[in-house]
Symmetry: D2
Subunit: 115 residues, 4 copies
Amino acid sequence: MTTDLEDLAVRLRAFARARDWEQFHTPKNLAMALAGEVGELVAEFQWLTAEESADPDPDALARMRTELGDVTLYLVRLADVLGVDLLAAATDKLADNERRYDAGRYRGSARKAPP
Amino acid sequence: MTTDLEDLAVRLRAFARARDWEQFHTPKNLAMALAGEVGELVAEFQWLTAEESADPDPDALARMRTELGDVTLYLVRLADVLGVDLLAAATDKLADNERRYDAGRYRGSARKAPP
Amino acid sequence: MTTDLEDLAVRLRAFARARDWEQFHTPKNLAMALAGEVGELVAEFQWLTAEESADPDPDALARMRTELGDVTLYLVRLADVLGVDLLAAATDKLADNERRYDAGRYRGSARKAPP
Amino acid sequence: MTTDLEDLAVRLRAFARARDWEQFHTPKNLAMALAGEVGELVAEFQWLTAEESADPDPDALARMRTELGDVTLYLVRLADVLGVDLLAAATDKLADNERRYDAGRYRGSARKAPP
Protein backbone atom coordinates (compact mmCIF):
# COMPACT_ATOMS: atom_id res chain seq x y z
CA MET A 1 0.00 0.00 0.00
CA THR A 2 1.37 3.37 -0.88
CA THR A 3 0.33 6.46 0.95
CA ASP A 4 0.39 9.77 -0.80
CA LEU A 5 -0.32 13.31 0.32
CA GLU A 6 -4.00 13.02 -0.54
CA ASP A 7 -4.37 9.88 1.59
CA LEU A 8 -2.63 11.68 4.40
CA ALA A 9 -4.97 14.67 4.13
CA VAL A 10 -8.00 12.38 4.26
CA ARG A 11 -6.66 10.56 7.29
CA LEU A 12 -5.92 13.87 9.05
CA ARG A 13 -9.49 15.01 8.40
CA ALA A 14 -10.82 11.86 10.07
CA PHE A 15 -8.38 12.28 12.96
CA ALA A 16 -9.57 15.85 13.63
CA ARG A 17 -13.23 14.97 13.23
CA ALA A 18 -13.07 12.01 15.63
CA ARG A 19 -11.67 14.33 18.34
CA ASP A 20 -13.88 17.31 17.51
CA TRP A 21 -10.70 19.29 16.84
CA GLU A 22 -11.89 20.83 13.58
CA GLN A 23 -12.89 23.88 15.62
CA PHE A 24 -9.21 24.48 16.45
CA HIS A 25 -7.93 23.82 12.95
CA THR A 26 -8.36 27.27 11.44
CA PRO A 27 -5.68 28.16 8.90
CA LYS A 28 -4.36 30.78 11.31
CA ASN A 29 -3.93 28.25 14.13
CA LEU A 30 -2.45 25.61 11.85
CA ALA A 31 0.08 28.11 10.45
CA MET A 32 1.18 28.79 14.05
CA ALA A 33 1.40 25.08 14.83
CA LEU A 34 3.51 24.60 11.69
CA ALA A 35 5.83 27.41 12.82
CA GLY A 36 6.14 25.76 16.23
CA GLU A 37 7.11 22.43 14.70
CA VAL A 38 9.61 24.04 12.34
CA GLY A 39 11.13 25.69 15.41
CA GLU A 40 11.64 22.23 16.91
CA LEU A 41 13.18 21.00 13.66
CA VAL A 42 15.58 23.95 13.44
CA ALA A 43 16.60 23.37 17.06
CA GLU A 44 17.91 19.93 16.09
CA PHE A 45 20.47 21.63 13.81
CA GLN A 46 21.39 24.73 15.76
CA TRP A 47 24.67 23.62 17.36
CA LEU A 48 25.79 21.28 14.56
CA THR A 49 28.44 22.28 12.07
CA ALA A 50 27.48 22.08 8.41
CA GLU A 51 29.41 18.80 8.20
CA GLU A 52 27.79 17.32 11.30
CA SER A 53 24.35 18.26 9.97
CA ALA A 54 25.06 16.24 6.82
CA ASP A 55 26.07 13.16 8.79
CA PRO A 56 24.00 13.14 11.98
CA ASP A 57 24.35 10.32 14.50
CA PRO A 58 21.46 7.81 14.51
CA ASP A 59 19.72 9.38 17.54
CA ALA A 60 19.86 12.85 16.05
CA LEU A 61 18.64 11.55 12.68
CA ALA A 62 15.72 9.79 14.39
CA ARG A 63 14.73 13.06 16.09
CA MET A 64 15.04 14.96 12.79
CA ARG A 65 12.84 12.37 11.10
CA THR A 66 10.19 12.73 13.80
CA GLU A 67 10.22 16.52 13.46
CA LEU A 68 10.06 16.26 9.66
CA GLY A 69 6.99 14.06 10.15
CA ASP A 70 5.35 16.63 12.42
CA VAL A 71 6.07 19.45 9.99
CA THR A 72 4.61 17.42 7.12
CA LEU A 73 1.42 16.64 9.07
CA TYR A 74 0.70 20.29 9.82
CA LEU A 75 1.66 21.39 6.32
CA VAL A 76 -0.69 18.86 4.72
CA ARG A 77 -3.48 19.74 7.14
CA LEU A 78 -3.06 23.50 6.57
CA ALA A 79 -3.10 23.09 2.80
CA ASP A 80 -6.18 20.87 3.08
CA VAL A 81 -8.27 23.33 5.11
CA LEU A 82 -7.28 26.08 2.66
CA GLY A 83 -8.15 23.89 -0.33
CA VAL A 84 -4.64 24.19 -1.76
CA ASP A 85 -3.07 21.32 -3.71
CA LEU A 86 0.38 21.21 -2.15
CA LEU A 87 2.11 19.34 -4.95
CA ALA A 88 0.68 21.66 -7.60
CA ALA A 89 1.70 24.72 -5.56
CA ALA A 90 5.23 23.36 -5.16
CA THR A 91 5.51 22.35 -8.80
CA ASP A 92 4.37 25.79 -9.95
CA LYS A 93 6.88 27.46 -7.66
CA LEU A 94 9.69 25.23 -8.85
CA ALA A 95 8.84 26.06 -12.47
CA ASP A 96 9.03 29.75 -11.52
CA ASN A 97 12.44 29.21 -9.92
CA GLU A 98 13.70 27.32 -12.96
CA ARG A 99 12.78 30.31 -15.14
CA ARG A 100 14.04 32.95 -12.75
CA TYR A 101 17.40 31.41 -11.83
CA ASP A 102 19.09 30.79 -15.13
CA ALA A 103 21.48 27.89 -14.60
CA GLY A 104 24.38 29.63 -16.34
CA ARG A 105 24.01 32.99 -14.70
CA TYR A 106 23.49 31.82 -11.11
CA ARG A 107 25.98 28.98 -11.23
CA GLY A 108 27.71 28.57 -7.86
CA SER A 109 26.40 31.85 -6.51
CA ALA A 110 25.07 31.89 -2.97
CA ARG A 111 23.41 35.22 -3.60
CA LYS A 112 20.21 33.42 -4.30
CA ALA A 113 19.87 29.70 -3.75
CA PRO A 114 16.26 28.59 -3.71
CA PRO A 115 15.67 24.86 -3.61
CA MET B 1 1.03 13.24 -15.56
CA THR B 2 1.01 13.12 -11.84
CA THR B 3 3.83 14.47 -9.75
CA ASP B 4 4.50 13.01 -6.39
CA LEU B 5 6.97 13.88 -3.66
CA GLU B 6 9.62 11.56 -5.09
CA ASP B 7 9.37 13.21 -8.51
CA LEU B 8 9.70 16.57 -6.82
CA ALA B 9 12.80 15.47 -4.88
CA VAL B 10 14.42 14.23 -8.11
CA ARG B 11 13.64 17.49 -9.90
CA LEU B 12 15.04 19.52 -7.00
CA ARG B 13 18.25 17.50 -7.12
CA ALA B 14 18.67 18.34 -10.80
CA PHE B 15 17.84 21.98 -10.13
CA ALA B 16 20.55 22.25 -7.47
CA ARG B 17 23.12 20.34 -9.52
CA ALA B 18 22.61 22.47 -12.63
CA ARG B 19 23.37 25.60 -10.60
CA ASP B 20 26.17 24.07 -8.51
CA TRP B 21 24.10 24.86 -5.43
CA GLU B 22 24.55 21.46 -3.78
CA GLN B 23 27.40 23.02 -1.80
CA PHE B 24 24.86 25.33 -0.09
CA HIS B 25 22.26 22.65 0.49
CA THR B 26 23.50 21.24 3.79
CA PRO B 27 20.72 20.06 6.10
CA LYS B 28 21.57 22.93 8.45
CA ASN B 29 21.19 25.56 5.73
CA LEU B 30 18.03 23.99 4.34
CA ALA B 31 16.46 23.89 7.81
CA MET B 32 17.12 27.64 8.08
CA ALA B 33 15.67 28.27 4.63
CA LEU B 34 12.59 26.28 5.62
CA ALA B 35 12.23 28.40 8.77
CA GLY B 36 12.51 31.55 6.68
CA GLU B 37 9.78 30.42 4.31
CA VAL B 38 7.50 29.38 7.18
CA GLY B 39 8.03 32.88 8.58
CA GLU B 40 6.71 34.31 5.32
CA LEU B 41 3.73 31.94 5.43
CA VAL B 42 2.88 32.86 9.03
CA ALA B 43 3.10 36.55 8.13
CA GLU B 44 0.22 36.07 5.68
CA PHE B 45 -2.03 35.12 8.60
CA GLN B 46 -0.80 37.42 11.35
CA TRP B 47 -3.41 40.19 11.20
CA LEU B 48 -6.32 38.01 10.06
CA THR B 49 -9.03 36.89 12.45
CA ALA B 50 -9.65 33.15 12.68
CA GLU B 51 -12.68 33.64 10.43
CA GLU B 52 -10.82 35.72 7.85
CA SER B 53 -8.04 33.11 7.75
CA ALA B 54 -10.61 30.46 6.83
CA ASP B 55 -12.03 32.53 3.99
CA PRO B 56 -9.16 34.57 2.54
CA ASP B 57 -9.72 36.89 -0.42
CA PRO B 58 -8.33 35.59 -3.74
CA ASP B 59 -5.15 37.69 -3.57
CA ALA B 60 -4.36 36.53 -0.06
CA LEU B 61 -5.09 32.91 -0.99
CA ALA B 62 -2.78 33.17 -3.98
CA ARG B 63 0.02 34.45 -1.74
CA MET B 64 -0.66 31.67 0.79
CA ARG B 65 -0.49 29.10 -2.00
CA THR B 66 2.84 30.48 -3.20
CA GLU B 67 4.27 30.34 0.33
CA LEU B 68 2.92 26.81 0.83
CA GLY B 69 4.74 25.88 -2.39
CA ASP B 70 8.00 27.37 -1.11
CA VAL B 71 7.69 25.58 2.22
CA THR B 72 7.03 22.28 0.44
CA LEU B 73 10.07 22.68 -1.82
CA TYR B 74 12.45 23.22 1.08
CA LEU B 75 10.85 20.49 3.16
CA VAL B 76 11.18 17.96 0.32
CA ARG B 77 14.76 19.04 -0.39
CA LEU B 78 15.76 18.86 3.30
CA ALA B 79 14.25 15.37 3.69
CA ASP B 80 15.99 14.27 0.50
CA VAL B 81 19.49 15.36 1.55
CA LEU B 82 18.93 13.66 4.92
CA GLY B 83 17.67 10.48 3.24
CA VAL B 84 14.35 10.66 5.08
CA ASP B 85 11.14 9.41 3.46
CA LEU B 86 8.77 12.27 4.27
CA LEU B 87 5.53 10.35 3.79
CA ALA B 88 6.73 7.44 5.92
CA ALA B 89 7.90 9.85 8.66
CA ALA B 90 4.52 11.62 8.61
CA THR B 91 2.55 8.38 8.56
CA ASP B 92 4.52 7.01 11.51
CA LYS B 93 3.95 10.21 13.46
CA LEU B 94 0.24 10.20 12.70
CA ALA B 95 -0.01 6.59 13.90
CA ASP B 96 1.69 7.71 17.13
CA ASN B 97 -0.79 10.55 17.53
CA GLU B 98 -3.74 8.24 16.89
CA ARG B 99 -2.53 6.01 19.74
CA ARG B 100 -1.62 8.82 22.10
CA TYR B 101 -4.70 10.96 21.71
CA ASP B 102 -7.58 8.65 22.45
CA ALA B 103 -10.59 9.99 20.57
CA GLY B 104 -12.92 9.68 23.54
CA ARG B 105 -10.63 11.18 26.12
CA TYR B 106 -9.37 14.15 24.14
CA ARG B 107 -12.67 14.97 22.47
CA GLY B 108 -13.09 18.73 22.04
CA SER B 109 -10.13 19.56 24.25
CA ALA B 110 -7.72 22.21 23.06
CA ARG B 111 -5.18 21.11 25.63
CA LYS B 112 -3.52 19.04 23.00
CA ALA B 113 -4.56 19.26 19.40
CA PRO B 114 -1.98 17.77 17.07
CA PRO B 115 -3.03 17.42 13.44
CA MET C 1 19.91 47.39 41.17
CA THR C 2 18.56 47.73 37.69
CA THR C 3 19.60 45.44 34.90
CA ASP C 4 19.57 46.71 31.40
CA LEU C 5 20.29 45.11 28.05
CA GLU C 6 23.98 45.96 28.25
CA ASP C 7 24.30 44.31 31.68
CA LEU C 8 22.55 41.26 30.26
CA ALA C 9 24.92 41.11 27.28
CA VAL C 10 27.93 41.28 29.60
CA ARG C 11 26.54 38.53 31.81
CA LEU C 12 25.82 36.33 28.78
CA ARG C 13 29.41 36.78 27.59
CA ALA C 14 30.70 35.57 30.95
CA PHE C 15 28.22 32.68 30.92
CA ALA C 16 29.43 31.50 27.51
CA ARG C 17 33.09 31.99 28.35
CA ALA C 18 32.87 30.02 31.61
CA ARG C 19 31.49 27.03 29.70
CA ASP C 20 33.72 27.40 26.64
CA TRP C 21 30.56 27.81 24.56
CA GLU C 22 31.79 30.82 22.58
CA GLN C 23 32.81 28.35 19.87
CA PHE C 24 29.11 27.47 19.34
CA HIS C 25 27.85 31.05 19.49
CA THR C 26 28.33 32.05 15.89
CA PRO C 27 25.68 34.48 14.61
CA LYS C 28 24.35 31.73 12.36
CA ASN C 29 23.88 29.29 15.24
CA LEU C 30 22.40 31.93 17.53
CA ALA C 31 19.91 32.98 14.84
CA MET C 32 18.78 29.33 14.66
CA ALA C 33 18.52 29.09 18.44
CA LEU C 34 16.44 32.27 18.45
CA ALA C 35 14.14 30.78 15.81
CA GLY C 36 13.77 27.64 17.91
CA GLU C 37 12.79 29.62 20.99
CA VAL C 38 10.33 31.75 19.04
CA GLY C 39 8.79 28.50 17.83
CA GLU C 40 8.23 27.49 21.47
CA LEU C 41 6.72 30.90 22.21
CA VAL C 42 4.35 30.71 19.23
CA ALA C 43 3.29 27.22 20.30
CA GLU C 44 1.95 28.68 23.56
CA PHE C 45 -0.55 30.72 21.54
CA GLN C 46 -1.47 28.34 18.75
CA TRP C 47 -4.77 26.96 20.04
CA LEU C 48 -5.88 30.07 21.94
CA THR C 49 -8.50 32.41 20.58
CA ALA C 50 -7.51 36.07 20.28
CA GLU C 51 -9.46 36.74 23.48
CA GLU C 52 -7.87 33.87 25.38
CA SER C 53 -4.42 35.01 24.30
CA ALA C 54 -5.11 38.44 25.86
CA ASP C 55 -6.16 36.93 29.16
CA PRO C 56 -4.14 33.75 29.67
CA ASP C 57 -4.53 31.67 32.81
CA PRO C 58 -1.66 31.98 35.32
CA ASP C 59 0.05 28.75 34.22
CA ALA C 60 -0.03 29.74 30.57
CA LEU C 61 1.21 33.25 31.39
CA ALA C 62 4.09 31.79 33.39
CA ARG C 63 5.09 29.64 30.42
CA MET C 64 4.82 32.63 28.06
CA ARG C 65 7.01 34.67 30.40
CA THR C 66 9.64 31.90 30.44
CA GLU C 67 9.65 31.71 26.66
CA LEU C 68 9.84 35.51 26.37
CA GLY C 69 12.88 35.31 28.65
CA ASP C 70 14.53 32.69 26.43
CA VAL C 71 13.86 34.71 23.29
CA THR C 72 15.32 37.82 24.90
CA LEU C 73 18.49 35.98 25.98
CA TYR C 74 19.23 34.72 22.47
CA LEU C 75 18.32 38.04 20.87
CA VAL C 76 20.66 39.95 23.19
CA ARG C 77 23.44 37.41 22.67
CA LEU C 78 23.06 37.45 18.88
CA ALA C 79 23.12 41.26 18.75
CA ASP C 80 26.18 41.26 21.02
CA VAL C 81 28.26 38.88 18.89
CA LEU C 82 27.33 40.93 15.82
CA GLY C 83 28.23 44.19 17.57
CA VAL C 84 24.72 45.59 17.03
CA ASP C 85 23.14 47.93 19.58
CA LEU C 86 19.68 46.44 19.89
CA LEU C 87 17.95 49.50 21.32
CA ALA C 88 19.43 51.78 18.68
CA ALA C 89 18.42 49.33 15.93
CA ALA C 90 14.87 49.15 17.30
CA THR C 91 14.60 52.91 17.77
CA ASP C 92 15.80 53.55 14.21
CA LYS C 93 13.27 51.06 12.86
CA LEU C 94 10.45 52.59 14.88
CA ALA C 95 11.34 56.04 13.57
CA ASP C 96 11.16 54.58 10.04
CA ASN C 97 7.75 53.10 10.77
CA GLU C 98 6.48 56.39 12.20
CA ARG C 99 7.44 58.11 8.96
CA ARG C 100 6.19 55.38 6.66
CA TYR C 101 2.81 54.72 8.27
CA ASP C 102 1.14 58.10 8.41
CA ALA C 103 -1.28 57.98 11.37
CA GLY C 104 -4.15 59.51 9.40
CA ARG C 105 -3.77 57.41 6.29
CA TYR C 106 -3.28 54.01 7.92
CA ARG C 107 -5.80 54.55 10.73
CA GLY C 108 -7.57 51.27 11.58
CA SER C 109 -6.24 49.46 8.54
CA ALA C 110 -4.94 45.95 9.02
CA ARG C 111 -3.26 46.06 5.63
CA LYS C 112 -0.06 47.03 7.31
CA ALA C 113 0.24 46.97 11.05
CA PRO C 114 3.85 47.04 12.19
CA PRO C 115 4.41 47.53 15.92
CA MET D 1 19.16 60.88 25.89
CA THR D 2 19.10 57.16 26.54
CA THR D 3 16.27 54.96 25.47
CA ASP D 4 15.54 51.82 27.36
CA LEU D 5 13.05 49.03 26.87
CA GLU D 6 10.41 50.78 28.95
CA ASP D 7 10.68 53.94 26.83
CA LEU D 8 10.37 51.78 23.74
CA ALA D 9 7.24 50.05 25.07
CA VAL D 10 5.63 53.44 25.84
CA ARG D 11 6.46 54.73 22.38
CA LEU D 12 5.05 51.58 20.75
CA ARG D 13 1.81 52.00 22.72
CA ALA D 14 1.44 55.55 21.38
CA PHE D 15 2.29 54.36 17.86
CA ALA D 16 -0.45 51.72 17.94
CA ARG D 17 -3.01 54.04 19.54
CA ALA D 18 -2.45 56.82 17.00
CA ARG D 19 -3.24 54.37 14.17
CA ASP D 20 -6.04 52.53 15.96
CA TRP D 21 -3.99 49.36 15.61
CA GLU D 22 -4.47 48.20 19.21
CA GLN D 23 -7.33 46.03 17.91
CA PHE D 24 -4.81 43.99 15.88
CA HIS D 25 -2.23 43.76 18.64
CA THR D 26 -3.50 40.72 20.49
CA PRO D 27 -0.75 38.56 22.00
CA LYS D 28 -1.60 35.85 19.49
CA ASN D 29 -1.18 38.17 16.50
CA LEU D 30 1.99 39.74 17.89
CA ALA D 31 3.52 36.31 18.50
CA MET D 32 2.88 35.52 14.82
CA ALA D 33 4.36 38.84 13.72
CA LEU D 34 7.43 38.12 15.85
CA ALA D 35 7.78 34.70 14.20
CA GLY D 36 7.54 36.33 10.78
CA GLU D 37 10.30 38.81 11.59
CA VAL D 38 12.53 36.10 13.04
CA GLY D 39 12.01 34.22 9.78
CA GLU D 40 13.39 37.24 7.91
CA LEU D 41 16.34 37.45 10.29
CA VAL D 42 17.16 33.75 9.89
CA ALA D 43 16.98 34.13 6.12
CA GLU D 44 19.88 36.60 6.28
CA PHE D 45 22.09 33.82 7.65
CA GLN D 46 20.85 30.79 5.74
CA TRP D 47 23.50 30.53 3.02
CA LEU D 48 26.41 31.93 5.02
CA THR D 49 29.09 29.70 6.50
CA ALA D 50 29.66 30.00 10.24
CA GLU D 51 32.73 32.13 9.49
CA GLU D 52 30.91 34.40 7.04
CA SER D 53 28.10 34.89 9.57
CA ALA D 54 30.66 36.16 12.11
CA ASP D 55 32.12 38.66 9.65
CA PRO D 56 29.27 39.83 7.40
CA ASP D 57 29.89 42.42 4.71
CA PRO D 58 28.53 45.91 5.51
CA ASP D 59 25.35 45.49 3.43
CA ALA D 60 24.50 42.17 5.06
CA LEU D 61 25.23 43.58 8.52
CA ALA D 62 22.93 46.54 7.82
CA ARG D 63 20.12 44.15 6.84
CA MET D 64 20.76 42.03 9.94
CA ARG D 65 20.61 45.17 12.10
CA THR D 66 17.29 46.18 10.54
CA GLU D 67 15.83 42.74 11.16
CA LEU D 68 17.14 42.72 14.74
CA GLY D 69 15.36 46.04 15.20
CA ASP D 70 12.09 44.60 13.86
CA VAL D 71 12.35 41.55 16.11
CA THR D 72 13.00 43.77 19.13
CA LEU D 73 9.99 45.97 18.38
CA TYR D 74 7.57 43.04 18.23
CA LEU D 75 9.14 41.36 21.24
CA VAL D 76 8.81 44.51 23.36
CA ARG D 77 5.27 45.10 22.15
CA LEU D 78 4.22 41.49 22.86
CA ALA D 79 5.69 41.57 26.37
CA ASP D 80 3.96 44.90 26.98
CA VAL D 81 0.47 43.73 26.03
CA LEU D 82 0.99 40.63 28.19
CA GLY D 83 2.23 42.73 31.12
CA VAL D 84 5.55 40.86 31.23
CA ASP D 85 8.77 42.62 32.26
CA LEU D 86 11.14 41.40 29.58
CA LEU D 87 14.37 42.12 31.43
CA ALA D 88 13.14 40.43 34.60
CA ALA D 89 11.96 37.40 32.59
CA ALA D 90 15.35 37.17 30.85
CA THR D 91 17.30 37.65 34.07
CA ASP D 92 15.29 34.94 35.83
CA LYS D 93 15.86 32.56 32.93
CA LEU D 94 19.60 33.29 32.88
CA ALA D 95 19.81 32.61 36.62
CA ASP D 96 18.07 29.28 35.96
CA ASN D 97 20.57 28.45 33.22
CA GLU D 98 23.51 29.37 35.45
CA ARG D 99 22.24 26.90 38.03
CA ARG D 100 21.33 24.17 35.60
CA TYR D 101 24.45 24.20 33.45
CA ASP D 102 27.31 23.79 35.86
CA ALA D 103 30.36 25.44 34.30
CA GLY D 104 32.64 22.52 35.05
CA ARG D 105 30.36 19.78 33.92
CA TYR D 106 29.14 21.33 30.67
CA ARG D 107 32.48 22.83 29.66
CA GLY D 108 32.89 22.73 25.88
CA SER D 109 29.93 20.44 25.35
CA ALA D 110 27.57 21.25 22.52
CA ARG D 111 24.97 18.89 23.95
CA LYS D 112 23.29 21.80 25.58
CA ALA D 113 24.41 25.33 24.88
CA PRO D 114 21.84 27.85 26.04
CA PRO D 115 22.92 31.48 25.91
